[in-house]
Assembly symmetry: D2
Homo-oligomer: 384 residues x 4
Amino acid sequence: MKRKICVVVTARPSYSRIQTVLSAIREHPDLELQLVVAATALLEKYGSVVPDMEKEGFPVYARVYNQVEGSLPAQAVKTTGLGLIELPAILNDARPHMVVTIGDRFETLSTAIAAAYMNIPLVHIQGGEVTGSIDEKVRHAITKLADLHLVASESARTRLIRMGEDPATVFHTGCPSIDLAARLIQAPDPDFDPFQYYQGVGKRFSFPTGYLVVLQHAVPTEYTHARAHIEITLQAILETNIPTCWFWPNGDAGADDTARGIRSFREKYPGSTIHFFKNMAPLHFLKLLKNAACLVGNSSAGIRECAFLGIPAVNIGTRQQGRERARNVIDTEYDQAAISKALITQLAHGKYPQDTLYGNGDSGRKIAGILATVPLSFVKQLTY
Amino acid sequence: MKRKICVVVTARPSYSRIQTVLSAIREHPDLELQLVVAATALLEKYGSVVPDMEKEGFPVYARVYNQVEGSLPAQAVKTTGLGLIELPAILNDARPHMVVTIGDRFETLSTAIAAAYMNIPLVHIQGGEVTGSIDEKVRHAITKLADLHLVASESARTRLIRMGEDPATVFHTGCPSIDLAARLIQAPDPDFDPFQYYQGVGKRFSFPTGYLVVLQHAVPTEYTHARAHIEITLQAILETNIPTCWFWPNGDAGADDTARGIRSFREKYPGSTIHFFKNMAPLHFLKLLKNAACLVGNSSAGIRECAFLGIPAVNIGTRQQGRERARNVIDTEYDQAAISKALITQLAHGKYPQDTLYGNGDSGRKIAGILATVPLSFVKQLTY
Amino acid sequence: MKRKICVVVTARPSYSRIQTVLSAIREHPDLELQLVVAATALLEKYGSVVPDMEKEGFPVYARVYNQVEGSLPAQAVKTTGLGLIELPAILNDARPHMVVTIGDRFETLSTAIAAAYMNIPLVHIQGGEVTGSIDEKVRHAITKLADLHLVASESARTRLIRMGEDPATVFHTGCPSIDLAARLIQAPDPDFDPFQYYQGVGKRFSFPTGYLVVLQHAVPTEYTHARAHIEITLQAILETNIPTCWFWPNGDAGADDTARGIRSFREKYPGSTIHFFKNMAPLHFLKLLKNAACLVGNSSAGIRECAFLGIPAVNIGTRQQGRERARNVIDTEYDQAAISKALITQLAHGKYPQDTLYGNGDSGRKIAGILATVPLSFVKQLTY
Amino acid sequence: MKRKICVVVTARPSYSRIQTVLSAIREHPDLELQLVVAATALLEKYGSVVPDMEKEGFPVYARVYNQVEGSLPAQAVKTTGLGLIELPAILNDARPHMVVTIGDRFETLSTAIAAAYMNIPLVHIQGGEVTGSIDEKVRHAITKLADLHLVASESARTRLIRMGEDPATVFHTGCPSIDLAARLIQAPDPDFDPFQYYQGVGKRFSFPTGYLVVLQHAVPTEYTHARAHIEITLQAILETNIPTCWFWPNGDAGADDTARGIRSFREKYPGSTIHFFKNMAPLHFLKLLKNAACLVGNSSAGIRECAFLGIPAVNIGTRQQGRERARNVIDTEYDQAAISKALITQLAHGKYPQDTLYGNGDSGRKIAGILATVPLSFVKQLTY
């Protein structure tokens, strides 16, 4: 009998990271994929992943519309609560051998708790890393609920073992987000024009080089400063006068203020060189990234994918604080002058050599192999 | 301004453990108590703690009726989810400086997540211990969401620091459940007759000595065996023919089967020497324990309070597996002969000397002192 | 293509009433049954209907564990809310052509709202009747959400049309609860011994005649008086000294107090002639009823099934106030003397002639026929 | 003791309608206002009413963030469910003498059910009217849960009595939405410039006359056609080339498609004469309406407020089907030519005489008077 692997995807970036794992599960003779889509991953406002999944041929097993509207911390709590109320019926119906959860978004604690309480072995991808924000608490809490850990780096593995996880349950597989980047490098698409696929709003410019990419999300533990933070970055980018692809924030606490800052900026500077996109399919985003002069903001893409692609990154604020990084990243405070200075340094430097710190492109396959063979267990204990 | 300390109590045993902390917070000049009662702690079936709280003069700030009926794992998930949906409004209204959660019951993850996501410093009492069952996962997950750890033993402190908690946030205060036991020893009540206060059902017998106390809960990670497990213990006790006070199980997954086993036993053996109680006020329970010949089952009381009181305990199965224990405990499998043998050994041995492994009676006061003075923070990071 | 008929059963008595409809749907060549079981209908405490359904060969399409524990009005509200949160996923998956809801229990408003808001034609069985308690509000509210009305009596039909329902959507089918009674009369089982099938608790006595049956539920709109109400009836029955089969109350607001009154009575009068049952399978209950000397309490069975079976009924209080009744019913206040007096009158009178006020035994078949052919619509408007 | 009146406002238009009632309750010596704000009324996306309430000096008693994101019917069901889960704690805390609910929005059934099940007298404002869409079912279902009915017209009163409501509980007070309009007429503000208060997007034009106002919401019972419907209206308005103030749709099922249609139109016709607004404060909206040449769409404002103000209205589709109307309304299908034709007729006609069909401006005061004196009851029965 095939092992049924239930993967719960709750946000677009999680789908980007897990896509090659989904393919590898589907193609593995001993595995069967049960794909559950939830929260913002279902909502067009945040770029529903369902059309992309359908394009890739991944059937959706169940949908959980649990996003409570609004970007206050209370809504994050309730969204997690609604997830817990809806997941048991799905898991009772699916009866998976394992449940897979990805990363450290707040609502993924629903997945972890539901699996743990229902005695289903829980697999966590991307545990053992260190960052700022609420993600740091969420990530390690999920580790403690998880029975199997598939980590992106050797230092993540070391950390989990120090945290008392049984070494036999911690596998260094690399981060599957690198798989797509590796695939892209092997088969580049020189003609990708984002304006053609994704309209976005703002001034258009000619590709394929000499532009910035910005992704800056609200930080839930600092959500009352979200507007100030985004305005600083907007001003810094405005002054460079460089063509820029700017992405809309995710749904974390504070997002409404981030969005408000962007909208207000757009009205004030209708002639700026910034073009705003809601989101892109995973491979399209990587194509955009691959030719960018620099990534700016606080997305983990600056640290993961950009390390592999050799793209310079300016990382702002606390969100990625502590995450292991390659030489492509310069960190700055929420400070316009500091951001400008870091950006100038990166533009002057240009591309970095590839760094495989987060994997070398075969994580999906490795992960599927482990899922197919690892002993199944839902009972664990601290090792000390 | 006083610090507002919001304590969320979700079950009767948690109230027993925290009672002296509540008193100490109330009496501290710099602290204000906000007491939230939730889940089974509100339901008469499980012995609502509200009348006891009122008797002790603790006003209830808010009530969360979030217990979903039934004893399947799915209901544990949903109960946790309902808690998450209701707590934000309460915390938004109370605006506490800290939220306190106790122990490792499944539904306490609601409290931990709500506080963490709402940027309120989270205090965890009784972290760092090691056990079996789902409690083990829950306890360490809460640790990873908590900002302040008030632990019962030195080894618990060591473990939390190894797990990457900042040593400055981990305090060895002892377990407040010992406070009540210490108070009891100083002022014993020789005339306590449980039949007078709590009717219960079954044969009555004369106190105050020569009886057993049994507490055996279903183990959620083994909930499909709950009936078999309780029947084994019932048979073992039946054969001793010793007067016995037996307590009803809590609401964990499997509880319905435990209850069914007990009901069926009662019908089959109406003349047995076992008397069944639903629950008792914390101090009454300790009085009962203090004069018992032996505690049998899988309650942590056998390991905590009995260590301090010197009462022999026979601990059955995996629920307390790994929890640090004094010499008063003999562990056995779910096996009638093994339980009988352990019981005979304990009855022959009689009382043990006091062991202060879990505290010496001043935890409540220590905890209040720390809550009043510790720096407030809701941002943390793994120390390695 | 067959019409998919989704029937949502939320309580044991609703299953009793709908059982012949389920059979008729299953056997109809143009219909397909999707059976959803929810709320107390899933819980053993209230007599889960699932084993009975399995025995009858009705496969369960989905289960909704939405009962929030406790018997305060707040829990009734939340149980309804949880139902609303869980039903959409089920209806999205089932894609029924019609949703069927039965009667007037509070939690059935979940079913009605979910179907109405999701543009699925809603069928209501047993609308148009008049009673007391919250049921009266619930029943008529469901009528206003329903697209098709299958009513038990001609006067119910008249009422619905006066209320502004389109006459073309109101069908007088009789009450399917009568179908089972009719079937029973045709094929009686002289040897049914309830003690053999259902242990219950209390004194046993010899069947088959000369006994009372009591069903008295808490009345949500008077729930603070539930204990007083049940005690009055218990005393009245105690004094008769007649063998009695007494059924446990349902989960309505106040039920805990009703149960407490019964438990307290049992302790005080261990030698009474009352035997307490949790519940029975629909046909077994009718067998019991058929030979009873009198039904006492506030169940609609006294008014529906007893009218057909000719069993005298003493109906107490406001719960059935206004419901159309045959000559077999004597109404009384919550008053011990009044109940005793009515009971004496009924025992002196003995059996009544059959009254087909609520149907003559072919409702199930009629209902299935209508479901198979009626035009499907989810848009309606008041007729005036 | 003052009667505590809990008013639950769940959407901006409901606030507009109830505003004078809130004032009248606040000013009444025997009444105390408890204002609960919920659902889209809290969200900036839909124009949070909280700032307006604060400006008017209405303190908010509690906030219920229960809007589940997305515009599918399932989300409407869940939003209602979340409301039911959160309201009991608020009502238990507030202990109002009456709960007031307004109109017929889907999520107001939460308010009605919570009050009814918790034995709190329920007051319904604007019952007894007839329309299309899901509102028609919701409105009459609320009637059946309500104990007191304050209706806008004599025919509404007649209908409720025919529906079996006790005449003693049905009061013709007029619609309080007319109060604001009456107040506006008495004290006009000639200088209101919407562009100054509310930026909106699109071309600006000079006020104060010669413009259209459009409000067209998705119709939940036809939500799959929402995009087609809005496109027809957009084209019809585009062709007139008349300056137009167009309002964003509410959050009903289908709203995402309505919004998509508008966004797509804006990209295609950046030079159109349409200016889009998210929303306006009640009085500002009325000022805008008062000088408009015609209201187009399917808002009830075309039928209520416009009747009083004498503004011509073109009412499109089924949403207002059956609602009693004055001579100022021309109804059309979802058809571009029909809309254009009706619009031309209305522009040629110009203003209509005032019609007080829905009230003459003193509803708020009347309603407060009734709330202060009417007998309190939560038990009712059909009158026939």
